[in-house]
């Protein structure tokens, strides 16, 4: 998994969630995205699902899968690497 993909995922999070004043470098690759991390919720999760499908052609079918995929930037990048068409 490349650092380039990690940065792309960070940018996807910033752009799709319109997080103002944040750069990719501000997001820790292994930090939790929900709860104590970036504080994302299920509304954000669906926004990320749509963005991942649009940008990478990767489908996250349900919240159970999403809870694993959206654990961190790294887990998102790993999922994209495994499922990218």
């Amino acid at each position: 998994m490349s650092e380039e993909l990690i940065d792309q995922v960070k940018q996807l999070i910033i752009d799709s969630l319109r997080i103002e004043g944040m750069n990719p470098a501000d997001i820790e690759t292994d930090a939790p995205l929900f709860g104590e991390g970036l504080g994302l919720d299920s509304i954000d999760a669906l926004q990320l699902v749509v963005a991942m499908e649009k940008d990478f052609g990767v489908v996250v079918p349900d919240a159970a899968t999403g809870s694993k995929v959206f654990q961190s930037v790294r887990s998102m990048a790993e999922y994209i690497t495994e499922h990218r068409k």
């Binding site: 799709s16 299920s42 509304i43 669906l46 926004q47 699902v49 079918p61 349900d62 999403g66």
Partner: protein
């Protein structure tokens, strides 16, 4: 143009409360007019339910944030409300005082809580499905559309056992997420007709002044006048909140900057989704 958006009842309370003169004033009012201690999240007199606690907390925090925005010199060109966000919105518009709004919230909440003594009700937050399958699920399980927040974010309302069946069907239909929240009353559904008369009597106990700012309602996207407020508060108990179309109407009316005046940022997130789809 600035738009102040007043959210509905929060589902959780924040552990951290502000510490300043504005919060002190709101805390004092909540204690005196709603018999509720914001610091201890507990009743000072006649006890209400957990849902009523959250309703008073949500309204109090909206009143606080409205004060802070005023203090920062940020003025609204337009106001909008989601569900019980109408209560603090009325205070921000000058139609009622902050104290009256807190008292009204307590009285209305206690009235609605009577419904929960004889039946168990729940709200179901469904994310990921579109409207058509969502409405079919609601009809199949005798629950009701309570919030149409975005094209993929809805709230259902009804009896708890029916909601659990609706939850299972929603997952089977491919919903991304479904969460059930117990509540005192089936808000925004025809089942609320059971307490409509008592609620109208409560709303009739106040004198409403003309809103000082345009205040858009979430049912018809009309601007509410002082004469409309009582009837609107009664109607909205029985009808869904249409936030998606309210967001479009606010944009069409010239709203450019949105301020969520209350707990959380759900309305901003709905708007983000709606704006993305509109592009």
């Amino acid at each position: 143009m600035n738009c102040f958006m007043f959210p509905g009842q929060p589902l959780l309370r924040s552990e951290l409360l502000p510490r300043d003169d504005d919060f002190d004033a709101i805390r004092e009012l909540a204690g005196r007019r709603a018999l509720f201690d914001l610091d201890g999240f507990s009743w000072l007199g006649e006890e209400g339910t957990e849902s009523v606690k959250l309703q008073i907390y949500g309204v109090a925090m909206s009143l606080y944030h409205a004060r802070r925005l005023r203090r920062q010199g940020i003025k609204p060109g337009l106001m909008a409300e989601h569900s019980m966000g109408i209560y603090p919105a009325m205070a921000a518009c000058g139609s009622l005082s902050e104290g009256e709004v807190l008292e009204l919230t307590f009285r209305a909440g206690c009235c609605m809580a009577q419904m929960g003594k004889s039946r168990q009700y729940a709200l179901g937050c469904v994310i990921g499905l579109t409207l058509e399958p969502l409405l079919a699920i609601a009809e199949n399980n005798e629950v009701y559309l309570a919030n149409h927040n975005t094209s993929r974010h809805f709230l259902l309302s009804g009896e708890r056992k029916n909601m659990e069946e609706a939850e299972a069907e929603a997952f089977a239909c491919g919903a991304f997420s479904v969460k059930i929240f117990p509540c005192d009353a089936p808000l925004h559904s025809p089942l609320m007709a059971e307490v409509e008369g008592e609620m109208r009597a409560i709303f009739a106990g106040y004198r409403y002044r003309e809103p000082a700012f345009p205040l858009m309602d979430h049912i018809d996207q009309d601007y509410l006048t002082a004469a409309d407020l009582q009837d609107f508060m009664a109607r909205e108990l029985l009808l869904p909140v249409y936030w998606e179309r309210t967001c479009h109407a606010l944009r069409a009316a010239g709203a450019g900057s949105f301020f969520e005046v209350g707990v959380g940022d759900s309305l901003k997130k709905y708007n983000r989704w709606i704006d993305n789809e509109a592009k």
